[in-house]
Amino acid sequence: MGGDMTASAERLLRVEGLRTSFHTREGVLRAVDDLSFTVDQGRTLGIVGESGSGKSVAMLSLLGLIPMPPGRIEGGRALFGGRDLLRCTARELRRVRGREISMIFQDPMTALNPFMTIGAQLTEPLTVHEGIGRRAARGRAIAALEEVGIQDAEERLRSYPHEFSGGMRQRVMIAMALITRPRLLIADEPTTALDVTVQAQILELIRRLQGELGMAVVLITHDLGVVAAVCEDVVVMYAGRALESASAVGLFAQPRHPYTSALLASLPTLRGRGAELYTIPGMPPDLTEPRAGCPFAPRCEHAAEICGASPVLEETAPGHWTACVRVQRGELPVEALRVAGEDEGLRAP
């Protein structure tokens, strides 16, 4: 959330003005453009956006996992535990990764090393970060597998990833990410590649472990249903920027940005059976083009002349921030953004 908010003691991560770009032959692609948000201890922040909106790149930037070159972090701060992650040395960042901040990824089929046993991969964060012996690490690995609901954990340590199903592999990923008891888990579309039935189990598992470990979670997703199910706070991203930031309850009750309302309107669950689904006209913008003003304006049904000015997140209701200039000025009544039929559809938890 941009602007000057009161510093809270339970603030875990505070990202300000993050800008990441990729310098390619086709030009400079601004993947993340002045992104700010905060994550509070023990809470779940959902970062929602279409493919290419910069949500994953933003998170990878924090951990120094952007391939450089061509990637480059052009500016910003990311305060975590008293230091700025964007200014840490490679060695300092390595001590954060997998120890204080863990990350799990979209495709559990490719995210685990096919050449190594589950046991070898599970114990690696322990041996690297805590320097504990092989036997103790093995014990912790068995406990970690049991914690994520994998049967015959001791046997399974000798298995290879290809011997597991997709859902099981994601459980292994989660066990591996949490084995060091990190303070923050970044989950990059953890359920996108899984069967619908497995999706709910994985989300439930993350939710349960979050409660047990008291860690914070950043959940990257393009699925508003997932946000409604597990997130307390939401940032809506578009073209590398945050357009809206609010509590999940507040966002679903009353979106304050036309893009968010268009996203909600596109949800199949909100429509009657047989009705045509709503789609947002146009395509996401080409991020290599220089641009000014609101990035969503070309596709926005409420766009006006004023949208040529660059918007900044502003608090237009308590705890609810929007980057829509027209909403900020009161030109666009937020009631106009209310989604028809939302009451029978999605509900915030």
Partner: protein
Amino acid sequence: MHMTRYVVRQLASFIPVLFVIITLTFFLVRLAPGGPFSSEKALSAEALAQINAHYNLDAPLWRQYVDYLAGLARGDLGPSMKQPSRSVSEWIAYKFPASLELGLYGLLFALCVGLPAGILAAWRPNTWTDQLPMALAMAGICIPNFVLGPLLVYVFSLRLQWLPVAQWDGFAHKILPAVTLGAVYAAYIARLSRAALLDVLSQDFIRTARAKGLSEPRVVLRHALRGGLQPVVSFLGPAAAGIITGSFVVENIFRVPGLGTEFVKAAMNRDYTMILGTVLFFAVLIMLFNLAVDVVQAWLDPRLRHG
């Protein structure tokens, strides 16, 4: 368990393949103009007939073929037609050890230079630690061994006088020929391992490894190298069979009493039995090494072990 059955099945499949190789070689060699004794002008007609009778060359071709197969079934490769002091098997047994030893040194050199060069290059692609080893590798592929050999002799034997010029004696005699023989293989191994490592390093599980906070050496050596070795192993199978059976060029530059020279001599002399014997020997080696490749690949990649 799977592996043993696989190896046995593969070994059984060698027999029909060898049969085809022998048959093709047997008849192709006869298609070449001339014969083992056609260049010996001094031979009288009677003497020639006698020799032909001795080596069964006067029989109809199909008969010779059947007789040769019958000999093979008894493990007899026949006498050498041009170097009758030894049988073909004895010639191979006599000449192979030097080639094998030289080949193993060459292979060792190729691995010890090629692999680290490939890893170093993949470490930071498109920097000088990539470009320098890759330029050297390109040179290694482009410079033929009949240029490299004399060049090494000139520098290390004649100029610096560190190593002997030629002959097959102590270990010092084996260094220059091994390097000459192994250079091109080192170059290929460097290029193959670089490409394969870069491919593996771009995969999702490498990002996972980095996200765990592992150091770069650990990411490359522990997480990427196994996958990066696969193409190298595939290349090494047939390459090793070639390298240990000797190189005509290297053996002649350094006066190494190896099998490579016999191979070429046999072909030039139309020494039919010797050609067949060396081809057969080479074919068996290639097949054995390819089988070894399969076994090593399965050891490298657990996904290949079942199924």
